[in-house]
């Protein structure tokens, strides 16, 4: 409990279970175990943390500890500090049985770790092969211990205390299976963590392979620097949204959709689009139309402005969504547009008006163009 047994076990190079069970036996034999434990706890100092060694306990060591315990028991018995033969013998036998089952040899340990990875395994499966004999012997000892306890306490039997029998059985099962269940839970936890880690690694590797490595390969084959820049931009955008992406709230959200639109235009027209977006909203039909109109404006800028950089700023406020698409290109005279230029009149202004919004286009020759789209949000 306070690490006394563990400390002693560490010092002696014996499995802590052996020591713990020895303490339990001594505790039943007149309380000496409790006293010894407290003394050990008081005088014990924290052991220096050296490299953890796998406790490997031989049968010889178990027998040695058992003999020491037996000696102490005899001493106590002659000293008169004694609860009664039946109790001590039964607990002693059961503890010895449990020890035989659960102390681990070097081989047993690795087998154990491998086998516990499968949840459905029973103790019988685990204690397969070479340690099968030990398991049977140990179980017999535990059962024998319990039987002696029950048989000796005729007083309990005459009372017919079924509850006591159940309790004793439970303790017996606990002694036989307890350490196994504890180990199982612990190792399952370890393994689950390890599995999650390796799955994450695999996912990252797969993603980097599909995206970054492919793009790097394409960049090496790209015939022009312009193309290289476009590829690098697209990859940067993609990787960034993967690294810092917010989990999409509901279905597609506005932020993500606008970014995706910008990425498509970047790729299709070899331009860089700087998107800055404030706030977010779910995308309905009207917001979709707004994104399409903004996409049309950005495409126009990419085609006609003569510059390679376009800024998009979107702000989702409570009552409206504003989107600005801006370039510092050659600009044009807004009043001078031929009526057949359907791009602006239909795809931008018309689309906005149909959805209850508006579009304002301001442009100064030689300075640039800015398209301002406003979409009022329906009152909730």
């Amino acid at each position: 409990m306070a690490g006394v047994a563990g400390g002693i076990a560490e010092r002696l190079g014996i499995d802590p279970i052996v020591i713990r069970l020895a303490f339990i036996v001594l505790a039943f034999a007149g309380g000496l175990g409790v006293v010894a434990y407290l003394v050990g706890w008081l005088i014990g100092s924290e052991p220096a943390e050296d490299e953890p060694r796998v406790p490997s306990t031989s049968l010889r060591q178990i027998v040695a500890v058992a003999l020491v315990v037996s000696g102490l028991l005899l001493l106590l018995r002659s000293a008169g500090v004694w609860f009664g033969d039946a109790v001590v013998w039964s607990v002693g036998l059961a503890a010895f049985g449990s020890t035989v089952i659960w102390t681990r040899t070097g081989v047993g340990r690795t087998q154990f770790a491998r086998l516990t990875s499968r949840l459905q395994r029973t103790p019988a499966d685990i204690v397969s092969g070479r340690s099968k004999g030990r398991f049977i012997a140990g179980t017999l000892l535990v059962v024998a211990g319990m039987a002696i306890l029950l048989g000796a306490h005729t007083s309990f039997k005459t009372i017919g205390n079924v509850g006591f029998a159940v309790l004793v059985t439970a303790v017996g099962v606990g002694l036989a299976l307890g350490p196994w269940i504890y180990e199982l839970v612990r190792q399952l936890g370890d393994e689950r963590r390890e599995r999650i880690r390796s799955e994450e690694r695999a996912e990252v590797a797969a993603h980097l392979h599909d995206s970054v490595l492919q793009t790097l390969a394409m960049i090496q084959r790209a015939p022009s620097t312009e193309e290289m820049t476009t590829l690098a931009r697209a990859q940067e955008r993609e990787l960034r949204s993967w690294l810092y992406g917010r989990a999409p709230a509901g279905d597609a959200d506005f932020r993500e959709s606008l970014d995706a639109m910008a990425a498509r235009i970047e790729q299709g027209h070899r331009v860089a689009i700087e998107t800055v977006i404030v706030g977010d909203a779910p995308v309905d039909e009207r917001a979709r139309a707004l994104i399409d109109a903004a996409g049309e404006a950005a495409t126009n800028a990419a085609k006609h402005s003569g510059v390679r950089t376009i800024s998009i700023y979107a702000e989702v406020a409570r009552d409206a969504i504003d989107v600005y698409v801006r370039d510092e290109g050659k600009g044009f005279d807004v009043g001078d547009q031929a009526p057949d230029r359907r791009g602006i009149s239909e795809s931008i202004v018309g689309r906005m008006v149909r959805n209850g919004g508006s579009a304002t286009i301001s442009s100064t020759p030689q300075e640039g163009t800015e398209v301002h789209l406003i979409l009022p949000r329906r009152p909730l």
Partner: protein
Amino acid sequence: MTDQRIRVFLVDDHRLFLSGVRSELGARFELVGEAGSVSDAIAGIVASNPDVVLLDVHMPDGGGAAVIGAVAKNRPDVRFLALSVSDAAEDVIAVIRAGARGYVTKSISPDDLANAIVRVHGGDAVFSPRLAGFVLDAFSGEIEPAPDPELDQLTPREAEVLRYIARGYAYKQVARQLNISNKTVETHVSSVLRKLQLSSRHELTRWAADRRLI
């Protein structure tokens, strides 16, 4: 503008990027040193006492914010300009709250970067469109009651200036659009920077707390 030979220190853990910046800026500034880790940066900056430190936001052992935190006590006159590929709002806000005078992304053109360094050296704040977006995001929505309306809210004019910057306008162009002087734009931006560093607004403190700065 760059005749005064501003003394610049570079901090970035990517050697490739470091050498790129060195070749771009070497002709215009006096590069007094560079470092690739937080501890080297702290020692180097304290030793060389530069005018401006170009500081990578992302580095092992605490990143740019850790460098600012350690240097600011000994060298209060050193100005920091944060530089990063990261778009994560909490990183950027954290380094600004630690004391950086501005934030630009690494895709910035060499000319713009040089201008930003000159401006930071002159005591002004440098807001890239993206930083302006983050700030508008952080200060959006009403908080009632505002514990400190002076610090926790943007004035309408400040929000207007930031919106222009977010739309891609340079300071000069903002001034022309709003019929105010360049200096007034600078004043607004510096005031926003101060609010960004001192405000106790929930969003800002949350972002900073994510980076364990508070």
